[in-house]
Amino acid sequence: MLLVVGPSGSGKSTFARAIAGLVPRDVPGEWRGSLRVGDLETSTALPADVAARVGILFQDPGSQLVMERAEDDVAFGLENRAWPLPAMRARVPESLAAVGLAGLERQRGSRLSGGQQQRLALAGVEAPRPSVLVLDEPTANLDPGGARTLFDRLARIRADRRATIVLVEHRADLAWPLADLVLALDGGGAPLDIGTPAEILAQSGERLAAAGIWLPSDLVGEAVPRARVAPHAPVGPPNDDALITDHLRFEYEPGRPVVRDVDLRIAPGERVALVGPNGSGKSTLLRLVAGLLRPRFGSVSLAGRDPARVKPARLAMLAGYVFQDPELGFLADTVSEEVRLGLDAAAAVRAIELMDRLGMPLQRFGSRSPYQLSGGEQRRLSVVTALARAPRLLVLDEPTFGQDRNGWEALAGIIEELVEDGTAVLVATHDERFARRVARRRVEMADGWIVADDGPGGRSAGPFATRRGVRTAAPAPELAPTPGQA
């Protein structure tokens, strides 16, 4: 197994796609050099010949499922290679069982969790028995539990030695122990080093870290410093809290609540990490407290106002929101317009300063389209637009997805230094390391309930809520342990 590592924009994905023959065939650009799979030159070979040997798994679980039902999707790749029907009937259930999806043959892909979707996609890629399996950041959208299940399957494929695995992955703690060889790329896409994991760590560990590459030691051993922010001291009456929710409940479909009876109080300036597996209701809770959804039952009070009922102009002063996919938050044609959008002169000056501090000066970035920025740049722009008005509450939904070490540090730095003292921060994240770095308080959700909250004593969980928490904690799914323990 070859592990490919590199900072954002180092061409890891392009390399992965070139192995699958998708670059340069499907992606325009200039191609030089040679890439061979067996005796096949992927840039000139027939697509069918490359596809017969190479399978590739992409990052986004949802967008690579082609057919509606699980078994049809696994069969899709086999049909395209003209497998005879009896062979398909034998292979499809076998592939599904191998990734732990036995019994879900007729399930619709859209009804599966993110982790299940990604394993379904893996089953579809594996089913035709490719000799090379390419995985392009397969766990970027998964929670720690989902990532570990996927890696269990990878470990078994590797042990069988039937396929060569090429893995592009940020999650160093899971990926490095499996790798036979590591290829490190620098920011410009040139190889920094290649060798066994032990060699690479010994020879060029520091160079890799400096280039923004995660190393296994980042997550194991080294103690992550707790948030540097001063501990929040509960002052004044609770009515001064930035956020108060009371028996908050929400359901998208009648009878299937995704947020249940949430009582949460956050003081001005408090930094709170919201953790829990995919589908536990974190994103929905964030949208409720930011006034983007209206609760089915219960109430939200953001600085004394109901955020779902205030006018947009007022809401923007109360809350800033960094969406999981920053691209969905962009509203203008250029970065410069995006930054100034809806701001008065003073706030615009502040926003432009923030852009400078994040290494994206408007002189250089102002005329570009927000959609053309890299993922990390989009995230930073999104944070600036959320912070420009110094809102009472800053909400971030999985801000570290797919971020390399430098992007991660930049984000942590913003939250530590740039967020004004009075602004409360609520960040939903799977990244325990990030949670420990930026937050003083950790609130854990499972199945719509808050099941743990290490906030100041009874402030956020009265005796009634505590009892309920204990009762529901027992049947809740396995809670995500920290990467350090994994």
């Binding site: 796609r17 699958a20 998708l22 065939r25 499907d26 027939l46 697509p47 069918a48 596809a51 017969a52 190479v54 399978g55 590739i56 992409f58 967008s63 690579q64 082609v66 057919m67 509606e68 039902r69 049809d72 069969a75 899709f76 790749g77 086999l78 049909e79 395209n80 290679r81 003209a82 497998w83 029907l85 398909m88 009937r89 007729r106 859209s110 579809g124 890629v125 035709p128 930011a290 006034g291 983007l292 006018k311 947009p312 102009a313 809401l315 923007a316 809350a319 800033g320 929101y321 996919d325 691209e327 969905l328 938050g329 962009f330 509203l331 959008l341 809806g342 959609y371 959320a386 008005r389």
Partner: protein
């Protein structure tokens, strides 16, 4: 309407569910053409009832799903009829028989006849469409189009995959609208949303095309995992449907 209805296992295993979608499609088309030849009220009403009864019995469609899908369309049919009743040209014709007078509106017998016939026809079309949608799995429709109607697989399965992505675009639109609100901008239906949606659609399409290509889509001869063959059911449903059409038109 853009979101594919979930077909339950019962509907899939029913007689109509196992009839070739092509037969149902052909029959729907025949009924449509047949209805265009008549201006009477009775034939479309009979056909609408026939379609709904067939859906409930032969199609095993749960009455709730049928009602849910039908309700908004029945409202549409009714509003077409009412608009025609009120604004028909014959209402201003002094020689036409006056039925009633509602404030500024004079309603004539001629206008009422046309409105009723139109409403009944829309009702029939809508009933046939809903029963078709409620007994036809989209995947099976495309399988039949490729295997029985020899439609090119590239086009058919490409369209099917794009169709599966529609709900994702709906979610994107929701988030885009929420993003406007949190940035202090009004206009839940601002035209600017289209730009964001277009970017997302292109991204999804790109990703899907890559995934399909990487899995050897359209790279040569293809086999099929869900073979569809003609059977007695197709003949029976096809002939029965045509007989109903003839019977209804001869009324």
């Amino acid at each position: 309407m853009l979101i594919p209805p979930d077909i339950g296992a019962g509907q899939e295993a029913s007689v109509l569910g196992r009839t070739s979608p092509l037969v149902k499609l052909g029959l729907a088309l025949a009924w449509l053409i047949g209805l265009a030849t008549t201006l009477h009220v009775l034939p479309p009403v009979l056909l609408a009832i026939a379609a709904l009864v067939a859906g409930l019995s032969l199609g095993q469609v749960p009455p709730r799903s049928l009602g849910g899908a039908l309700a908004p369309l029945v409202v549409a049919a009714a509003s077409i009829a009412i608009a025609n009743l009120l604004f028909s040209g014959s209402n201003t014709d002094p020689t036409a028989t006056q039925l009633a007078r509602l404030g500024p509106f004079r309603i004539t017998r001629e206008a009422a006849d046309v409105a009723l016939a139109l409403g009944a026809r829309v009702l029939a079309i809508v009933s046939v469409g809903v029963v078709f949608a409620q007994t036809t799995d989209p995947t099976r429709l495309v399988d039949a189009l490729v295997q029985q109607a020899r439609l090119p697989a590239r086009f058919a399965y490409g369209a099917l995959a794009a169709y599966q992505a529609v709900p994702r675009l709906g979610e994107d639109l929701t988030t885009l609208r929420q993003a406007r609100r949190i940035r202090g901008l009004g206009g839940a239906w601002h035209p600017r949303l289209l730009v964001g949606l277009l970017v997302r659609a292109i991204r999804h399409a790109d990703q899907l095309a890559l995934a399909m290509d990487a899995r050897a889509f359209d790279s040569g001869p293809r086999s099929t995992y869900r073979p569809i063959t003609w059977g007695w059911r197709d003949v029976a449903i096809g002939l029965g449907g045509l007989a109903l059409l003839v019977a209804a038109l001869s009324r």
